[in-house]
Chain length 413, copies 2
């Protein structure tokens, strides 16, 4: 089964927000065998909503829409869809009571905007929105289904997860879609493509292959559509065996598992702990680790030593080393790594020191130069990288490279 997504809101078209809803929805729809054919972002106007809906319904039987359901005057999706499907807007007493109660919890009274929100189209199924006051509407016309949800991501996600996805699974009989992603580190896209040339030429025709490069990582994605899930899985497993022979340990994970998750699993498995000492990554490694639920089981903390003084006083880096070699040097980064191990008392430590840019580069140490050290209680390994000219990219690549060095150290220990 195929679907389309329409996201509504001028804020998307003027680039004020990034439409993250579509990606999330597409991924979830895929897991229940519904593929997304097209994503369209349009303006908050009646014309745009009507024409894009008309077009989408001419191509597919299922259209999911987000946005334009807020309580304010710029939001016109409900009225427009109600007219499109020839419905009347009537008050939903249950929804009215829910909005009233919800507002009461925050000690806010009902106003005209909220009363307006309790109106729903009489021809639509109204789906519960536990996290907000905007209604979710499911219109059906012959074999076509149009579902309109609020654009606030956590409201939409909750509605999708607990209401829409289960209902779609029940109502439609879908083929099986299998995506398998192989995460590869340390090779550029075209070099990787050349290494895989023979393997790729021999892929069964049911496998569609894509290369997805990003800073520091290339993701190889195989996509298969078929009726027999077990058969698709067998094909994928055989192909992964072939890849392992060619790429070895350059494969660090599967299915978009992040490198920090790989590390988390290794640390949990071995009951070891980690701390970081971050200069150029500025807390990003700690942030990536603590963004994962349960990270307190293996991550103790970080010293973000942005100034040289903090490197010296909190991490115990020798002032002479800072003066003689500079903060971006093997000597300093190794002292940072052993310093954090001592200060926080963990089994492993990662330290970074580099020039993130845009300023601060020299001929000898251009922007993008980063020294990284990983350490256990009895070993220190350090490496120098030269990443890019862009600050955000350098912070990201340095964080991933540090995690990858730790991954190798743990595996080899």
């Amino acid at each position: 089964m195929q679907a389309e997504i329409i996201t509504i809101g001028d804020e998307i078209l003027i680039g004020q927000i990034v439409d993250t809803n579509s990606a999330w929805m597409s991924k979830e729809l895929n897991t229940i065998g519904i593929s997304v054919n097209r994503i369209t972002s349009i303006s908050d106007t009646k014309e745009a909503i009507n024409s894009s809906l008309e077009e989408a319904m001419s191509r597919v039987d299922l259209v999911l829409m987000t946005g334009g359901l807020g309580p304010t005057n710029d939001d016109i999706t409900k009225k427009t869809l109600s007219d499109y499907f020839a419905c009347e807007l009537i008050q939903d007493d249950g929804l009215y009571a829910k909005i009233e109660e919800r507002l009461a919890r925050y000690k806010i009274g009902m106003n005209a905007f909220n009363r307006e929100q309790a109106l729903v189209p009489d021809g639509a199924r109204i789906i519960t929105n536990n996290y907000g006051t905007a209604p979710c509407m499911w219109f059906t016309k012959d074999i076509k289904h149009v579902i309109s949800m609020p654009g606030v991501p956590f409201e939409m996600k909750n509605i999708m997860e607990f209401e829409i996805l289960p209902k779609l699974s029940e109502e439609f009989d879908c083929p099986h879609v299998l995506h398998q992603t192989i995460m590869v580190q340390g090779l550029g896209e075209s070099v990787l493509a050349e290494m895989l040339q023979d393997w790729e030429a021999n892929l069964p025709s049911v496998v569609k292959l894509a290369y997805l490069p990003s800073p520091g990582v290339v993701r190889l994605r195989m996509s298969l559509i078929g009726e027999d899930e077990a058969e698709l899985k067998t094909i994928v497993e055989q192909q992964i065996e072939g890849l392992r022979v060619i790429l070895g340990e350059r494969i660090f994970a599967f299915n978009d598992e992040k490198i920090e998750q790989v590390i988390a699993n290794l640390l949990l498995d071995k009951k070891k702990t980690l701390a970081t000492a971050e200069s150029c990554t500025g807390g990003n490694m700690a942030h990536l680790l603590t963004a994962m639920a349960g990270s307190s089981a293996y991550f103790e903390g970080s010293i973000v030593a942005y100034s040289n003084e903090v490197k010296a006083t909190v991490l115990g880096v020798n002032s002479n080393s800072l003066e003689e070699f500079g903060a971006v040097s093997q000597e300093v980064v190794e002292q940072m790594a052993s310093g954090v191990l001592k200060a926080i008392g963990t089994d492993y430590g990662i330290a970074t020191s580099g020039i993130a840019g845009p300023d601060g580069g020299t001929d000898e140490k251009p922007v993008g130069t980063v020294w990284i050290a990983v350490t256990s209680k009895d070993k220190v390994v350090s490496e120098k990288f030269v990443f890019s000219k862009e600050r955000g990219r350098n912070i990201r690549m340095a964080s991933l490279a540090g995690f990858n060095m730790l991954r190798k150290m743990i595996i080899e220990s």
Copy 2:
């Protein structure tokens, strides 16, 4: 002038990546007076490229496309567009030499994929891509313009900034578009809408207003299109005066300026320094601060004290307080704030301690409970918040709330 954007790639439609290119492009196009009418994301198939291009060209005169230009077999945009515009693919010797030289820098030889990349459609203008090997192509047919760029964000951004935007500005005569965003903290969307009801009713018709809620912040956006830039600016300034009377210091910034940027400016202005002590925010405050270029001028570092041991040993939090009140308490967070001021020696400190979730909540301290303290050399202010059930949201809201508390402390000092 109106444009449309088409982003190509199955990775978008299966939700593997979020299309961030469109938002960036839309924003940049807006600044030169080109408004984006629609954004469409499609699959890497000839049919999808042809049909979406046909439709977009029927609505607007300018179409910008990204994606599908990589060196691998799944990328078919160049061939498809070349056929669509009845061009032949011929070798571009300059591009060939550039690719060869670029690869040589990484000590990689030219392979069949790279040779293929040096082919370009003979009827298109070829635009320089300084950061990659995929060509950027500008097709013109009567009054219609179609520009195809690589999907890798930093390549696309570089091409847009230095090539496409200047050329578009030169070739087209556009009306003036003015967007003004007012950033408001501490009010929900419908409460804000009610406070602004009279003001909104009296807005001149040239002003289009939108409410953009996000965790902790509502952005109010006024959009105006006209010929006379000065006139539009005057109208906007008058409306902002009206808003200031109603909202006062709840307005913390304008035009999507981030709260960390507001703080950076305040600290730079007053020549003061900052350090953070982070438990539940796990380094996110440090990351947000150091993501900004030049942050070393006011940010010295952070102690990410994820475990209680680090709170005690590195920040000097009293073990009895940790036992008696728990880590998530006013006593502990205030000691963390003064501890980091002492350990790092800055003028200001921010400390956070809370239950980010999904686990760890109790009846008394549910998930989302966060204590935040800000401190200067002679004052400590702390506050308790209860945010949400979602981990990422709690980390984000706690970081922003901490920054906002510091903003108030600096302004009031």
